[in-house]
C-alpha cells in the first residue's frame, strides 16, 4: 500500500499547489493561440480558449487517428469502447498487439519512439505505470473529471491514473458441481468429494491476474499482502489433493470441463465473460482483494490531441458506463453511484460484495515482492507436489 497511502496524504496538501500550477500552464496555453497549441504539453483542459474541449476535439480530428496497444476486444468491453470512440469523433483507431502484456506495452512505446505507429496511450498494471513514469515515458494529464477519481487511484501530478478494476472472484459451473465453493477455505479442504477442478487463468509467474489469485489465497489462509508464501502453500495443497488443474483456465476450459472452478477477476467471468450455462461468479467470503489497471499517455505520443481526447472519453460518463457494461468497476464508480449517473442495470449485474469486508489493494511494492516470492517458490512447492 505504500505508494498509494502516501499519495492520499500528499494529495491533500498538494491540491492547492497543483491548482496554482495548473493556472499558470493554462494561461500560457490560452495566450499562445489556437494554431500553436502543443497538445503534447497540455496537462488539462480549460473551459474556453485554445485548450478547451472543443479545440481538443478539432485538433484530434485533424490528427485523424489514435494508436492503442494491448486492448483485447473482449477485455472490459474494449471492443465497444473503441467502436464508440471512433464513431463519435470519426477518429481511426489502430489497435496494435491486442493480446499483449503490460511489459510489451512499455517495450512498444520505447521501441516505436519517434514513429507514427508509436502507441499514444497505455493501459497497464499499476507497477508498470509507476516504472514508466520514473523512466520519463509518460506525459502528465488530468482529465476533466479528475476530482471524481479517488485519491488513492491516481498519481497526484497526473502521470498515471487508474481506469477500472475488480475483485478476485470464484467462478463455478453450477450445472456440473453440486456444492460450488464460496471461499478459499472450502477449496483447500477438497480432496475429491466435490469433484472440484480448480484453475487459475494463467501462470502466476507472469500474469498479474493469476498472481492476484495467489495473493488472495494467501490472505484467506493466514498470510497477508506482505506474506504471499501462504498462498503458494494453498495451491501446493490443492495440487496435492488433486484439485488443482495447471492450465490457462478460461471460457474454453470452463466449456469443455477441464476446469469447473476458476479463480479470476470478477469482471472477466461475470456478464457473459465466461459464457457457459450455469456459470456463477461469487466474491469469496474470506477475502476481498481488488486491483485496478492504469492509464497513461505516452510522452512521445504521435497523436497528442487524440490521446487526450481518448482519456476524456474513457473518463466521461459514457466511457465509465461502457467499462461497467464489461463487468469492470470503473475508477469513478463511487462518484457515479452517488450522483446517479451510473447505469443501474449493468451495476446490478456485478457480483455482490460480502458485507462488512474492507477491500484490500496491493501496492506496487507488494506486487513486486509477491512476484519475486512466487517466481522463486512456485516450481519447488507446487510443482513438487504434482
Amino acid at each position: 500500500m505504500a505508494p498509494r497511502s502516501i499519495t492520499r496524504v500528499l494529495l491533500a496538501g498538494a491540491t492547492l499547489a497543483s491548482v496554482a500550477a495548473i493556472g499558470v500552464t493554462a494561461e500560457t496555453g490560452a495566450a499562445s493561440g489556437a494554431a500553436s497549441v502543443n497538445w503534447g504539453k497540455v496537462t488539462h483542459l480549460t473551459k474556453t480558449g485554445a485548450t478547451s474541449m472543443s479545440s481538443l476535439v478539432k485538433a484530434a480530428k485533424k490528427e485523424g487517428h489514435l494508436n492503442v496497444v494491448a486492448l483485447p476486444d473482449n477485455w472490459a468491453n474494449y471492443g465497444n469502447i473503441i467502436k464508440g470512440f471512433s464513431k463519435k469523433y470519426g477518429i481511426k483507431i489502430n489497435s496494435e498487439n491486442p493480446e499483449g502484456s503490460s511489459a510489451e506495452e512499455i517495450q512498444a512505446i520505447q521501441s516505436d519512439k519517434g514513429r507514427s505507429s508509436d502507441p499514444d496511450v497505455i493501459d497497464v498494471g499499476t507497477s508498470y505505470a509507476v516504472t514508466a513514469k520514473s523512466e520519463g515515458l509518460l506525459a502528465p494529464y488530468k482529465v476533466s473529471t479528475w476530482s471524481e477519481i479517488p485519491a488513492g487511484l491516481k498519481n497526484p501530478s497526473g502521470y498515471w491514473f487508474d481506469d477500472y478494476g475488480g475483485y478476485v472472484a470464484i467462478g463455478c459451473n453450477t450445472t456440473t458441481v453440486t456444492n460450488c465453493p464460496t471461499s478459499f477455505k472450502q477449496m483447500s479442504t477438497e480432496t475429491g468429494a466435490q469433484g472440484y477442478k480448480i484453475g487459475l487463468n494463467n501462470s502466476p509467474l507472469t500474469s498479474n491476474s493469476a498472481l492476484a489469485g495467489v495473493q488472495a489465497a494467501a490472505i484467506a489462509s493466514g498470510g497477508s499482502l506482505n506474506n504471499v508464501a501462504a498462498g503458494v502453500s494453498f495451491f501446493a495443497t490443492l495440487n496435492k489433493n488433486g484439485a488443482f488443474v495447471n492450465t490457462i483456465a478460461d471460457a474454453s476450459t470452463a466449456q469443455d470441463g477441464t476446469t469447473n472452478v476458476i479463480i479470476w477477476w470478477d469482471y472477466l467471468m461475470a456478464n457473459g465473460g465466461i459464457d457457459v450455462p450455469g456459470w456463477k461468479v461469487v466474491i469469496p467470503s474470506d477475502v476481498l482483494l481488488g486491483e485496478y489497471y492504469t492509464q497513461g499517455i505516452n510522452a512521445g505520443s504521435p497523436d497528442p490531441a487524440a490521446a487526450r481526447l481518448w482519456e476524456e472519453y474513457l473518463y466521461s460518463t459514457t466511457g465509465q458506463n461502457l467499462w461497467l457494461a464489461g463487468g469492470a468497476r470503473p475508477a469513478e464508480l463511487a462518484f457515479m453511484t452517488a450522483h446517479k449517473t451510473v447505469n443501474q442495470t449493468t451495476l446490478a449485474k456485478l457480483p455482490a460484495l460480502p458485507s462488512g469486508e474492507t477491500p484490500q489493494y496491493p501496492s506496487t511494492a507488494q506486487i513486486t515482492a509477491a512476484a519475486t516470492t512466487v517466481n522463486s517458490t512456485w516450481a519447488t512447492e507446487v510443482g513438487a507436489s504434482s
Binding site: 516504472t131 501462470s203 502466476p204 507472469t206 513486486t368 509477491a370 517466481n375 522463486s376 519447488t380 510443482g383
Partner: protein, 319 residues
C-alpha cells in the same frame, strides 16, 4: 570450400602489393580467386554476425549491467545464489539443472530410437513409405508451440480423450506418475518433434553406408552384429553425435511449448528468461533474464566443445 583451403592450397601466393605485377599472371589470378572466394562468403559472415554475434554480444553486455547502468556482477550473483549448498539451490540453478536434464533425456531417447526408425525406413522396400516418412518428418520436426501443447492437452490432459479412454479401462495416468504439465509430460511432448528431427538428420548418413562394405564384411565371415559393431556404428557415430547435439540444443532452448505446457510449474531456464522479459508482474528486472541467457550461452558453449572433442575421437575411424 573456404578461404583457409584456398590459402593452404596456395602456399606461394603473392602479397597483396604484388597483385599488379604483370610478370606473375598466374599468382595474380590465384589471388584474385582467393579474393573472389572471400567475397563469396562475405554475405554469410555478415549474416551470421548480425544474427548470432550481435545478439550474443548484447546478451553479454546486458547480463553484466544493472538498471542504473555501469558494469556489475550482481545479476550473476543472483542467478548463482545457493550454489554452495546443493540442497538449497536457488531457483535459477534448479532451472539450469532441469533444462540440462530435459535436454539430455530428449537427446538420448529420440537420438537412439531415431537411428533405428531411420534405418527401418531406409531399408524398407516401399518407396511410398520412404517418401511419406521423410516428408512427414520434415513437417513434424518443425511442429511446436501452442498448437502442439493444445494437441497434447486435448489428448493426454486431465480431460483429454486418451486419458478418458484409459480411465474407462481402469488405467489412471496420474497414478503411474504421468502429468502432462510435469516433467514427464514435457519429455513426452518433446519426443513428438525430436524423433522426426533425428530421423531427418540421420537419414542422409545412413545412405552413406555402402552396400559393398557389408558384402566385404560378410565375405570375411562377419555376422550382422559384428558388422554393426565394427563398421556400421563407428562410421555413423559422428553423425549420431551431431544429431544428438542438435536435439540437445533444441530441447534445452525450446520455449513456447514448455511455457504453455507447464505454466511455470517446472523451473526451466528459457521460461525464466521469458518471465523477466515478457511477464506482467516483474517490472524492470530484465537484466536478470539476460544473466540467465548468458548462463545458457555458457552451457551451450561447453556442450559444443565436448561435442567437438568426442567427435574428433569418433571420426578417427574414418581416416
Amino acid at each position: 570450400m573456404t578461404i583457409s583451403e584456398a590459402v593452404v592450397s596456395d602456399p606461394g601466393a603473392s602479397a597483396p602489393g604484388s597483385e599488379t605485377t604483370p610478370s606473375k599472371p598466374k599468382s595474380f589470378r590465384k589471388s584474385l580467386r582467393r579474393l573472389e572466394s572471400a567475397f563469396a562468403v562475405t554475405p554469410f559472415v555478415v549474416f551470421a554476425f548480425a544474427g548470432l554475434g550481435v545478439p550474443a554480444l548484447a546478451v553479454i553486455y546486458q547480463a553484466f549491467h544493472g538498471n542504473t547502468g555501469g558494469w556489475t556482477l550482481s545479476n550473476m550473483r543472483l542467478i548463482l545464489s545457493g550454489s554452495s549448498n546443493p540442497t538449497t539451490h536457488g531457483i535459477f540453478l534448479i532451472g539450469f539443472e532441469n533444462s540440462i536434464k530435459l535436454g539430455l533425456i530428449s537427446a538420448l531417447i529420440p537420438g537412439v530410437v531415431g537411428v533405428f526408425v531411420a534405418y527401418a525406413i531406409q531399408t524398407s522396400k516401399s518407396n511410398l513409405l520412404r517418401r511419406l516418412t521423410s516428408t512427414g518428418s520434415g513437417v513434424l520436426a518443425n511442429f511446436g508451440g501452442i498448437n502442439l501443447t493444445f494437441m497434447f492437452v486435448a489428448t493426454l490432459g486431465s480431460a483429454g480423450v486418451l486419458t478418458a479412454w484409459l480411465h474407462a479401462v481402469g488405467i489412471s495416468l496420474s497414478n503411474v506418475g504421468f502429468n502432462i504439465s510435469g516433467f514427464s509430460g514435457v519429455v513426452v511432448v518433446y519426443m513428438y518433434f525430436q524423433l522426426p528431427l533425428m530421423v531427418l538428420v540421420i537419414t542422409p548418413a545412413l545412405g552413406g553406408l555402402r552396400q559393398s562394405w557389408r558384402e566385404a564384411a560378410e565375405n570375411m565371415g562377419a555376422s550382422s552384429l559384428r558388422y554393426w559393431i565394427h563398421v556400421g556404428i563407428p562410421v555413423l557415430m559422428p553423425s549420431i553425435l551431431g544429431g544428438m547435439l542438435l536435439l540437445f540444443g533444441s530441447a534445452f532452448a525450446a520455449y513456447a511449448t514448455a511455457a504453455t505446457l507447464t505454466l511455470g510449474l517446472i523451473a526451466l531456464s528459457p521460461i525464466q528468461i521469458g518471465n523477466f522479459l515478457n511477464g506482467n508482474v516483474i517490472a524492470g528486472e530484465t537484466h536478470v533474464g539476460y544473466a540467465i541467457a548468458f548462463g545458457m550461452l555458457v552451457i551451450l558453449t561447453v556442450v559444443m566443445l565436448m561435442y567437438s572433442l568426442v567427435r574428433k575421437r569418433a571420426s578417427k575411424w574414418l581416416r
